[in-house]
């Protein structure tokens, strides 16, 4: 993560930062390594263009749960003109992306080769090699969908005659001929002759759920993950043969409940709370009434209205080149008497010296004292250096909130800065030449300060302007994220409350860790509250803080721990009850098909997919019920439940009359609910 901190993300706006935060937190979720393996060699075949882009949801789920998943074969077959073109899935560079690479042999040969590649593996990889599982996925709205179905039916591999073929048919019940119309036509053709053989299974997975909810583009991926779950259940080495038998043969559909840790929402709440909390907590700590002496101290001003840096610069660049005090002795006097007379004075001035030297004293002073001071600021490079240095000092000494305070008191500040440089005074004991030297140094310094103070004033104005710009940028970023939250927020009060509090604690801890002492007005988050930050730099700095925040174990704990943390007042039984209710609530209405008439369906199995270490899994196991099968999921951030239904009379399936298929949405009650992402608790 440290390395990641140094990587420039180049966020352009709050939306991009929010998206990245969500992605990062999802990526960070722990996944345990389980003991599940695929029993049979398995080929996943994506049919047509439409479904092949969803292969990641299947592959990721299988990869996460089967230790030998890397040996499975993925093919994509697409009908082009009258030919079948075959593509093979290849891992991308970072193993997180996949690409389809075109194969150069025909479909049957490709399938055989895929099976051979698995049979060639070591014996221990697949325990059973007498059967092979062929998992087809087809979007029913695909052009030539019937051709694809025939391909599913008629293809027989030559390598392993004992094959178990399953088709996951993705039905689209959205209105329109190209959606529900196409799905309906295909389904009618398939069921017309009830042509499935004993080893063939067709899972009907529609986007229109029995409850009336419709899965939109944002969450249609659930059906692909559901397919992967069915592949897991039906092909897992460790499992009950009896129950697994229920997964195959004939037309089936599934009800599916998925409850996940609300990671997206947690990330959203956290980054917003972080952005808001950083500002308010630092403002509370740092915004304060500043006294004149405090401002002077931060400006590094002395009692003569001089500035430490300017003094140093003057001494280094100008004063070091001044004549020696004693050089004043060699001025040209009008007479010996005048020379002697001036030596006797204790209060000699430049005017008196001029009177005795025909103005040569002033000429000497101008050439060697005031002219260098004037010339210094004629050099653009020196001015640039000086501005840079002054700007750096101001930014270092004043934090953002102090600058905001100063911008409310600009007149006082400017008056303070441009106030006249005072003369430290002369001693009566000084010789005439020392007095003349000191007077000339003062005159030179006054000129030097005239230029320098204008630069300080300019830099302060720029700083005040930058602070205002920073404030506007900060608010803008916050708004950009808030707008995004409006879309993603599922209004979960417990998430809001718990993670806002977590963020608050994080900020407070950091502030304490930052050696917080009263009257220490330094910001704990200098990277964030740097007035010179551009929007991109500000977002990057907030991102870095976010990375620090999510190091907290709270952000990486599993589904149950997260729930326990968030709902700490509810005991274990209460939480289990809550989970059960949520699962049941979701399960009831989530049968993956909505027919216009009630069709006879027989529930043939119930499956829980849950991490073996979860309390919920232990409770289910302890109950020892034969009504369900427990599958040990490697993921820890979710619990899934499936119920398999046999469709005993598939000929009664009639999608087009559901209200969706007719394209008739005039009756508001039959209108499907808007898709949402409501899978989180």
């Amino acid at each position: 993560m440290e390395q990641e901190k140094n990587i420039q993300k180049n966020f352009c706006n709050g939306k991009e930062l929010l998206e990245c935060c969500i992605h990062k937190l999802n990526e960070n979720q722990q996944k345990e390594t389980g003991g599940n393996v695929a029993l049979y060699p398995t080929v996943i075949i994506m049919m047509g263009n439409k479904c092949r882009n969803f292969v990641q949801y299947i592959k990721n789920t299988l990869d996460e749960n089967w230790n030998n998943a890397c040996f499975l074969q993925y093919l994509c077959v697409i009908k082009e003109d009258s030919q079948w073109k075959v593509f093979i899935l290849r891992d991308g560079d970072n193993k997180k992306t996949y690409t389809w690479e075109m194969g150069n042999i025909n479909w049957e040969m490709s399938l055989d080769n895929a099976i051979v590649r698995m049979l060639e593996t070591e014996e221990k990889i697949f325990s059973s090699r007498t059967s092979v599982k062929l998992e087809y996925v087809l979007d029913a709205t695909e052009e030539d969908s019937m051709e694809y179905f025939k391909l599913f039916q008629q293809t027989n591999n030559t390598m392993c005659p004992n094959e178990l073929k399953t088709l996951y048919l993705m039905l689209d019940q959205r209105p329109g001929d190209s959606h529900v119309g196409a799905s309906h036509r295909l389904l009618r053709n398939i069921v017309k002759d009830n042509v499935l053989t004993g080893s063939q299974t067709v899972y009907l997975l529609s986007n229109y759920l029995n409850s009336g909810q419709m899965l939109g583009d944002n969450n249609i991926w659930q059906n692909y993950r559901l397919s992967a779950n069915l592949i897991l259940l039906g092909g897992n080495k460790k499992g009950s043969d009896r129950v697994i038998q229920n997964l195959f043969r004939g037309f089936k559909t599934v009800s599916y409940a998925l409850v996940t840790k609300p990671t997206d929402e947690i990330a959203t709440v956290s980054i917003l709370a972080l952005l808001h909390g950083l500002y308010t907590s630092e403002e509370n700590k740092l915004f304060h009434e500043m006294t004149a002496s405090e401002i002077k101290e931060k400006l590094q001003m002395d009692q003569y209205n001089g500035f430490l840096y300017i003094e140093e610069l003057f001494n280094k660049k100008i004063k070091s080149k001044f004549p020696k005090e004693t050089d004043w002795k060699y001025l040209p006097f009008s007479s010996c008497q005048d020379y002697k007379k001036i030596q006797g004075y204790t209060d000699v001035t430049l005017e008196m010296a001029d009177n005795a030297t025909f103005n040569a004293a002033t000429a000497f002073m101008q050439k060697h004292y005031t002219e260098p001071a004037r010339n210094f600021f004629k050099d653009n490079n020196e001015i640039i250096q000086c501005r840079k240095k002054i700007s750096g000092i101001l930014k270092k000494n004043f934090n953002y909130f102090e600058i905001l305070y100063l911008s409310e008191h600009q007149d006082v500040l400017k008056e303070m800065v441009v106030s006249e440089y005072h003369f430290a005074g002369l001693s009566e004991k000084d010789s005439f030449y020392k007095r003349l030297h000191n007077l000339s140094v003062y005159k030179s310094k006054c000129i030097f300060y005239n230029y320098a103070k204008n630069i300080i004033k300019d830099e302060l104005e720029l700083l005040l302007e930058s602070a205002q710009n920073f404030k506007e940028t900060y608010i803008k970023c916050e708004k950009e994220m808030e707008q995004q939250r409006f879309v993603t927020d599922s209004k979960s009060e417990s998430v809001e409350k718990f993670y806002s509090e977590t963020v608050k604690e994080y900020i407070e801890q950091k502030q304490q860790h930052f050696n917080y002492i009263p009257d220490n007005y330094s910001t704990t988050f200098p990277e964030v509250f740097s007035v010179s930050n551009t929007k991109e730099e500000l977002l990057q700095a907030v991102w870095n803080e976010y990375l620090g925040l999510i190091k907290n174990n709270i952000y990486n704990c599993n589904f149950e721990q997260e729930l326990a943390n968030r709902m700490n007042k509810v005991n274990e039984n209460g939480r289990h009850k809550f989970v059960s209710e949520e699962l049941n609530k979701r399960l009831r209405g989530s049968i993956r098909i909505k027919n216009n008439i009630e069709i006879p369906m027989v529930k043939t199995g119930c499956y829980y997919l849950v991490n073996a270490n979860a309390e919920y899994a232990r409770t289910l196991e302890a109950a020892g019920s034969k009504e369900y099968v427990l599958f040990d999921l490697n993921r820890t951030d979710c619990i899934e439940q499936l119920e398999i239904y046999d469709i005993t009379k598939p000929e009664q399936l009639h999608l087009a009359g559901t209200g969706a298929g007719d394209g008739n949405y005039d009756n508001k009650e039959s209108r499907p609910e808007l898709p949402d992402n409501g899978t989180g608790l």
Binding site: P323, L331, P332, S335, T357, F358, A360, F364, K367
Partner: protein, 225 residues
Amino acid sequence: MIIKKADQNYQIMELDYKKKTGMVIFNWRFREATDFLVFIYDNRQEFNLTDAKEIVEEAGFSDQDIINNTKKLVTLRKNRTLKMLHIGRREFLNNNRRLQLPVNEFKKNIPYGISIYACKYIEDGKKIYIYQSVLEDNTCFLPVLINADIQYKKILFSKDKLCILQLPVIDGYKDGAVMYHVSGIVPDFPLPQQCLGRELVITIPRQSEVSIRIQEKYKKYYKDR
């Protein structure tokens, strides 16, 4: 007279001078020119060709007059600070690429600037085309020689001595143009106008000497011996 933009071919190069037996001898190189116009002016005042052209025209010189009647220096201004002279290419070449002017044309207390321009005279149209200079290669300066009077006086029973310095009064003197230097002392002492023409008493270490220096930016006006 028509002023033309600088042309690489009509340029005066390496203009220089030397003084010899009552004469100031100028020499230069060129690529193309039928004639040359020479302007002599008080260097402390700004000189530019456009102003000079106007003054020439105001003085009533036609282009033909310039070619025929300015073989010797003619004064263009009443205060005699701007003079002009014309020299033909053949005459210049015949004189071994030299132009000789008597020293008495130059007053002792005035620092002079001399600018020479390459010209093309078209006899049919009686027009002189005068070409501007790219660099300042067409200009040289005759600075005023500063004659300082420096005397020393011992001071009894002292490690110091007195230096009596006197400089002549210089017209249009710029304060600080002339400085004196005390050997062994780092800074030079600039002299304002009021110091000129007076005896200045400087107390210096016995081993030291006083010398005159000209400030860098005034070296084209003044020269020390």
